[in-house]
Assembly symmetry: C2
Homo-oligomer: 188 residues x 2
Amino acid sequence: MNNRLFRFSGGVRGAWAVTGMRAISGEALPPAARVDILSGEPAAAGPGEKWVLRGVTSNERYVTSAERRELVSKQAALGRPEATHGALIPIRKNAEWWSLSQDERRAILEDRSRHIKTGLRYLPAIARRLHHCRDLGASEPFDFLTLFDYAEADAAAFDDLVGELRASEEWRYVEREVDIRLLRDGQN
Amino acid sequence: MNNRLFRFSGGVRGAWAVTGMRAISGEALPPAARVDILSGEPAAAGPGEKWVLRGVTSNERYVTSAERRELVSKQAALGRPEATHGALIPIRKNAEWWSLSQDERRAILEDRSRHIKTGLRYLPAIARRLHHCRDLGASEPFDFLTLFDYAEADAAAFDDLVGELRASEEWRYVEREVDIRLLRDGQN
């Protein structure tokens, strides 16, 4: 098993309670009460499982070395005790996006949409981990899964962050997006 | 199943006879008499199978739009009737490579190693298809599988191409490479 593989299971188990699920573009996901996040992939579906999404963390695709120095100096890791709020946002981009060359995608993502610079403004409050799904051997319904966590006091800032990104040119290439809000409520 | 997934099976079956297998860096692969190339992944290993490598074709990681125009105008697809010679070259790059940012990897791959420009000089004689393995859900022994085909008259040119690439700065990051030479001999 690839040790960078994560499995997100929507159902009745897991440390995160679902407080909202909304299809931003394209088809929704079936409702689930909780999300369980596991490293690796068990062979069988758990009881009550409504959906499973899988993704691998990987090398950076767009960030330059200067941007990375800034990111690394500011960003926090997931799992801070105060980060009781979270979001799982699966996204699929359209065929036109994937047919663009590397410089064309970078120009849209950063030069014109300021994706990296926008994210930097919300550090360290909003922590994130990006997972890639498009090059898994199985056909996956999304290209990316991003998991975020933040303190309750930063919930409005998180709404601002996703709002800014969704208004950008890059998001014209997003053909499916589901916004799943989470609360770490001490149960599982 | 991901429809960009290919499965390369080394054993006693397949359209390509193995004429040579050589470990260039790191561990060798077990000897095999033939290589079978299948789209997708059957559930079970075939009889006589010595190894299986899997990879997905994907979006371009480094090529710019100008380079792509030149590539598209010159390159041939795999499978020309005269392309009876082939090579399958699995490669794994080291952790240092994967920890570099996008601009650092591009600078090594093209600005300093001329990987794309070198490949262009051998078009259309040498056709190639690149498969990615690093972000498959299963742990794979290589990061890339490149399949090449060419006419017998271009066999020496192919040796020149791989020789140039192996002498480049980029190849300092290659920690495992196996060179498997193939002949489409009309059997299977």
